[in-house]
């Protein structure tokens, strides 16, 4: 029975299987690709040399033996180069120059064996037969050997030294388990090669055991790879679990942060609003009241010195205190907008007039048609236009007479604000200033139209018209 041949062929099959497996896994892996590539290079080449061997063990002539043996060199080189690089990457011991030189050495012996088979094998005496105990016979070449063949043996011994060194270094560095696994796996392989070398030199009976030695190595390398794959999977599932927990935690944190932000925003908006109202208070009511206190202090002295002035000052006091009241109500509208909505337009316009008179001592002649009742939106627009118009008169007009009126004819409401002040040149846009643009902005709600006529030293008339309906109805 061909037990030996069958065993070698089976091992070659296993080698091919592992080689392909490592190659495909390597192609898909994200990291450590080179570990897989070098291993599969080794395994595939090794499988091929085993199959070559099975063939030449049955050779019947020298020429037949050589024709098979010659190209086996290519795969022997591939196997050993793959192996040394695999061990280097596996252990992390990578003396690059040494590895490159060793690779070159293998390639040289391989090239020599293919290109000059005669020189490599030395003088050939013929074929010899090795009888195995169970009656199987293997054909081997009987030759003297050469410097090239010895060089190949040297390369193998150097590789062996490198394996031992690299694994020892890996072990010392602390990666004990992977070092031991590979060492145990490589051990029978190394022992078999050593035995073969000794057998070829005639020191021990020659049995080609190298082929069998591979199995342990293949198992060790596969174990190691399987371990790393399983560990990766475990880490991945741990990571996924953690991820879910983390996502939940982050979501909760985000919600809390969002709520805080909403509260903060509300608070800061409220603070900002308070600051604005305080500034407005300072600018309006406070100044008016302060002025009232000063004028009130002056009146007793004026009574002794200038009765007319005292009377006028008392009138001013009244204007200013009415103005302060109106300013107060204006501020209250900002604090409580609903109190604005419940006020009718007559009250609102009176208030704007009071503020104006309080500040300027210029009386306002106000007439509002009794029947007028409009929506808060329209009320607000009329009120703002009157307020802004009066502001402008106070700042620029130097008027002595101001007339404010609101009339209604056929559902058309007209607010008229007239003064006898300086007026302005209507053709000069610059002179119209910001006040007018604010006013037209306030009149820019549907149904409103604004008209301003002014003449220098005659005065200004502002007419704001509102009628129910669409913008198209505007004049």
């Amino acid at each position: 029975m061909y037990y030996y041949r069958i065993t070698v062929a089976v091992i070659a099959g296993i080698c091919l299987g592992f080689g392909m497996l490592f190659l495909f896994v390597g192609l898909r892996r994200k990291t450590n690709k080179r570990l897989n590539y070098t291993f599969s290079l080794f395994a595939l080449c090794y499988a091929t040399t085993l199959l070559f061997g099975v063939r030449w063990y049955s050779a019947t002539s020298v020429s037949e033996f050589l024709s098979v043996n010659r190209y086996d060199a290519l795969f022997v080189v591939g196997a050993f180069v793959g192996l040394i690089w695999y061990v280097a990457i596996y252990t992390g011991v990578r003396p690059r120059l040494f590895l490159v030189l060793l690779t070159v050495l293998y390639v040289i012996t391989g090239v020599a064996r293919i290109a000059y088979p005669d020189a490599f094998l030395g003088s050939i005496n013929g074929l010899k037969t090795l009888e195995l105990p169970w009656g199987e016979s293997l054909t081997l070449l009987d030759s003297t050997g050469s410097i090239w063949a010895e060089l190949f043996v040297v390369a193998q011994l150097v590789s062996l030294g490198f394996f031992i060194t690299a694994l020892t270094l890996q072990y010392i560095r602390g990666a004990r388990t992977p070092a031991l696994i590979l060492a145990l796996g490589i051990l029978p392989f190394v022992a078999a090669i050593l035995y073969e070398i000794l057998g070829e030199s005639g020191l021990v009976p020659y049995i080609p055991l190298g082929e069998v030695g591979f199995v342990g190595f293949a198992i060790a390398a596969s174990l190691q790879m399987a371990n790393s794959v399983i560990r990766t999977e475990e880490e991945l599932s741990d990571y996924q679990e953690n991820l879910e927990i983390q996502v939940k935690e982050r979501t909760a944190e985000l919600q809390v942060a969002n709520q805080l932000l909403v509260v903060q925003e509300r608070d800061s908006a409220a603070i900002e609003e308070r600051r604005r109202i305080a500034a407005e208070l300072h600018d309006s009511v406070t100044q008016t009241l302060y002025s009232i206190s000063i004028v009130a202090a002056a009146i007793p002295r004026l009574l002794e010195r200038n009765l007319e002035e005292a009377k006028r000052s008392a009138q001013h006091l009244r204007n200013m205190s009415l103005g302060a009241l109106a300013e107060m109500r204006t501020l209250l509208y900002e604090l409580r907008p609903e109190s604005f909505e419940s006020s009718n337009l007559a009250t609102l316009l009176q208030q704007a007039a009071d503020v104006f008179t309080g500040r300027t001592h210029i009386p306002v002649q106000l007439t509002v048609q009794e029947s007028v009742s409009l929506t808060p939106d329209v009320n607000l627009a009329f009120y703002r236009i009157a307020q802004e118009g009066l502001n402008n008169i106070g700042k620029h007009a130097a008027a002595s007479v101001v007339i404010l009126s609101l009339t209604e004819v056929n559902e058309v409401f007209v607010l008229t604000l007239r003064d006898n002040g300086k007026g302005f040149n209507q053709s000069s846009a610059a002179q119209q200033g910001q006040g007018l643009s604010i006013m037209s902005e306030r009149a820019s709600i549907p149904g409103f139209s604004l008209d301003v006529t002014s003449a220098t030293d005659v005065g200004t008339t502002i007419t704001a018209t509102w009628r129910e309906g669409t913008v198209d109805d505007q004049e």
Binding site: Y290, S291, I292, I294, A298, R359
Partner: protein, 115 residues
């Protein structure tokens, strides 16, 4: 009382009503004369340089240059200048800042009655 005996006053306040009130009150005292009125800190500094008043009545909050800064610049121009801060109610921080700038004082309340 001759004109040269009068105490010459510069009023700096951005509110017309307050300026008018102060003018009215001061006009009832023969010993005071208002030489100029400014409606912000910048004008106050210019008016001071032009009129060299004996006393400056200075509001704290004004546009462009505020009271404390105007006080600082006036005292840099004339270290013997007398600046009195006008306050309608006590706002500690701003008063401190004006006093630090060299104002000589601030009346907590305007005199109600001549004595």
């Amino acid at each position: 009382m001759t004109k040269s005996d009068q105490i010459r006053i510069l009023i700096a306040d951005d509110h017309q009503l307050v300026r008018d009130g102060l003018k009215l009150l001061i006009s009832t005292f023969d010993e005071f004369e208002i030489v100029s009125m400014a409606d912000d800190g910048e004008q106050a500094i210019k008016a001071f340089e032009r009129w060299r008043p004996d006393v400056v009545l200075m509001d704290l909050v004004m546009p462009n240059i505020d009271g404390p800064e105007a006080t600082r610049q006036i005292l840099k121009e004339d270290p013997s200048a007398k600046v009195i801060i006008l306050i309608s109610f006590v706002d500690d921080e701003k008063v401190q800042s004006a006093m630090a700038a060299g104002a000589i004082g601030y009346p907590l309340r305007m005199p109600a009655q001549s004595s």
